[in-house]
Symmetry: D2
Subunit: 306 residues, 4 copies
């Protein structure tokens, strides 16, 4: 049976992502993203599920940093999980008796309207994660009456939901990555995303424009960009980038070769199916058939034809 690491503890949105991605896999919780990815590098597990965007369970920057540094890893899939919060209590607790609530600050922020309406006098205390809050509330003799956490945390720790969907933004989702050791890429599906980190060669004005031109001239759209300090001193940057398409696509391949040439370093992180199913907008002249036709034309004219 496959074993996958994930950002624990049990009951996090990350575990929910893992269940959605691989219902039959064995999940092994790790305390940090770094630890989960290290388990992949050390071959203790066959992969890991970690949050990457808009997560409430920890900053996405950690995941980006960990994938950018250390031994290379490969992203093979992404998973979207709706962010839904529940007010979780030990069985038998009533809404009226909830005085002290434990949760992560971001979950707290997203549930203010519910709390103001239904528990205006309750004290809200901070924990490092929503799942940790649920675990603490579940302990015998816990000084807390309720946790705000993902529904899965209630299942894991034997808590009951007094209320569900108490967050303010019902469309919030968290994006997770499935990370494997380097090896065969995920097959192209036509609706793919490619992730990479690009380190500029010299910190010169216009360096970012140069990088983006490599994509735009081949009609490859970005879906994410973030400048990030490299840690080697103030003012030195790398760019964490997601683009539409698969490295098996000519337009993506040519853009990445262009990056490889103009950047100090490029780390390819993977090409994988988009979880949101949004097909790429292919600009006229940049479809696969256009690349094939142009390559044939080049071959002809190089040989003296017309």
């Amino acid at each position: 049976m496959t074993t996958l690491a994930y950002l624990g503890p049990e009951g996090t949105f990350t575990e929910a992502a893992l269940r959605s991605y691989a219902p039959d896999a064995r999940g092994l919780p790790y305390p940090t993203v770094a630890a989960a990815l290290e388990a992949v590098r050390q071959a203790h597990v066959s992969g890991a599920v970690v949050p990457v965007e808009n997560s409430i369970e920890g900053p996405v920057t950690v995941t980006l940093d960990e994938l950018s540094a250390g031994a290379p890893l490969l992203i093979t899939a992404e998973v979207l999980v709706p962010v839904r919060f529940a007010l979780l209590v030990r069985p038998g607790t009533t809404l009226e008796s909830v005085k002290r609530i434990l949760t992560h600050p971001v979950a707290h922020a997203q549930c203010r309207t519910f709390l103001a309406a239904h528990l205006p006098h309750a004290e809200v205390l901070q924990s490092g994660s929503t799942a940790g809050a649920a675990m603490t509330v579940a302990e015998v003799g816990s000084p807390y009456d309720a946790a705000i956490a993902a529904p899965i945390a209630g299942e894991r720790y034997g808590l009951e939901a007094l209320a569900t969907d108490i967050g303010e933004r019902s469309d919030a989702v968290t994006r997770f990555l499935v990370v494997r050791p380097p090896g065969p890429l995920s097959a192209a599906t036509g609706v793919d995303r490619t992730s990479l980190v690009a380190y500029i060669r010299d910190d010169h004005p216009g360096a970012l424009q140069e990088i983006l031109a490599e994509f735009s001239v081949r009609g490859v759209n970005l879906t994410w960009i973030q400048s990030r300090p490299t840690g080697d001193g103030i003012g030195r940057y790398c760019f964490s980038i997601d683009c539409e398409g698969h490295i098996a696509d000519s337009r993506v391949a040519e853009a990445l070769m262009g990056l490889r040439r103009v950047c100090g370093h490029v780390r390819f992180l993977g090409s994988y199916a988009r979880a949101d199913g949004v097909a790429p907008a292919i600009r006229k002249g940049t479809a696969e058939a256009d690349f094939t036709e142009a390559a044939g034309w080049l071959k002809r004219i190089r040989a003296g034809g017309v």
Copy 2:
């Protein structure tokens, strides 16, 4: 006396930033960035100090989100604080007796080498913030023996440092912003930064290139860029951008007017002195004198001169 809100609790790196920025101000801790900024909007305080980049006390994305939405606020200064961790204990505790350590997961990650060398058998538990860990350790009867936190947390909660500078990256810094209600801008110093949020008009390919061209054609370098979902649905983005220079500079002013024209919306967040003192690299032809000379030339030729 001036009162400034900050991301609490007491003893955080944010409080250290506030002390560095305004030693004589009264600091008022708030549980979240959102709450601190709301206190400014409600005029309960005259300003707030909040983390924005590389903070270990919470994701920077919260600050960006809060500044992007709601009633407008103005950034008037930035502060850099070195990230230094100390191992804090109640007076009298010895290194040998430390069995259970409480800290934030990111602080934990940055102190692994120290812990492996000096406390290989200690259990490390997670808290929502390093300052919260120090506060908990300071409580009478605390089940924890030590906290890893900023030195200032030791001062606040009466803890002693068994070891200082135990983090692995001695050059790590956190950047904080001082945020005020809209009003007079900070004066230009020649070494300034300008922050803004740009919402693209239509989610079309090349939209980011267009935005960047407005900067590059006027020789304005970016120091930070991050694409961010607007929350109005998948695939709609805004860009959080910092650039070199002050809006009083012609090159920055013209770039911002260009953004205003091509974007769906632009929120100016402020121009303020750079804490790192890095002077802008002014490309030939984009200095203030060049703009003045060109404006004079235009006036002449419009009037029929040569």
Copy 3:
């Protein structure tokens, strides 16, 4: 009465352009474009009409060179003249008796089909201009039987047209410029063209891209571009450029100020109504109202408003 110089001799398409532009002006023919423009510079005439594009009467490059160098001049209007050729003979000459035809090589090239069909055995000889051919044919005792020239040449030299519109491309037009001493610009009409010469500062890769970016970022379309050697040695270039719009338009004015800053030298040649009446395609965000609105916004935010 106004006197205008033009590229002679009498009977050229240039004279036709002058008649079309200023029916009541006195026209003074000059043997070269340089001489016609020098007459303006010396104030011997109040202006000059010279060909600039697709002319059959001489290379357009001469006009561009002459406007680029020497004392500055101002283009105040443009005129389009259809290129129509007639077979001109002395009165009484019949088609059958035409053995030797004099014309300019380009006119010859454009009338080959007619000649092959109707005068397959006639000899065609070259002259320096079509009008000069007509003049020579009109001389008593001329060794030539016919000229191919503009209809106006027949009027000037007392020749009859045996056939008209004998050119192969019925839509061919020549563009002429009306050039004045520096002084008040032509008023903006909403359908204007602006001409200039831009000298790059250093002959570096990407210099042309930089120049074009100054236009494109302000939504100003080019209608003409030609790289031209400056004559100061191999590999040094200037660019002769026409763009849509009037220097009174903000988008054009800002683009020209940008050029002024990044180029070694810019010579403004004039803004004037387009003879073809093609209105500019104004890109969203670059209309006059957009510039005005953005300037107002800048003023507000510089003053601390929102």
Copy 4:
């Protein structure tokens, strides 16, 4: 023996170019560039030598038009010829007796200083070409006393030079092309030029920027660009472009494939050694080795390597 067509008559700078390029070839003069190129297309000759830039013998636009339209041809070499003018007379004529001079208007313009100093009272008349002027002067009973033409015209027509190098710009050169039927390309020399014509797909704003981006992103510099009407109506353009490098170079090949994809049509005209010997400035990351390395990297990462 090889026979090459050239733009006649005998004694032109074009014949001088042909002699410089192929001293032993038989030269066959043609009255127009179109006729010379048609002779190649009809296989009456094995190639043609025609002027392309800064020629005084006819507008360069003719050559560009003729290469752009009709059956494809291949440029295999270029030749530079210094533009030197001589005052040519029938043997025995003295400077004092020169009253009527025949020449091409451009030659006239370039020799004004000499004429003003030495022949202030002579009448200057226009001919269609400098060689034609020499031929006419050489005729028995010619009404002209002298011609201004290339020295080679004196040799051809038995005239003597009363003065040489009488032009004002001693560094003027004319560039000629050697044109062949489609077939094997000239071998790459490392110092090459590539010529092509690009027709934009739709006449949309920014079309030229798109075309130039295909070159600049691969570090390919342009040495010539000219917008040209396609003749299919006002406002539709194509671009005549020369760039550094040979189509055998990866950076040029990739740029041309890019053009092929984004343009409505691209006509490759040839890659050939530069006559001026100016080596390309290769931008970091765009050398042949960089392309090879990046292609190897792509292959590795597509196969799951790092």
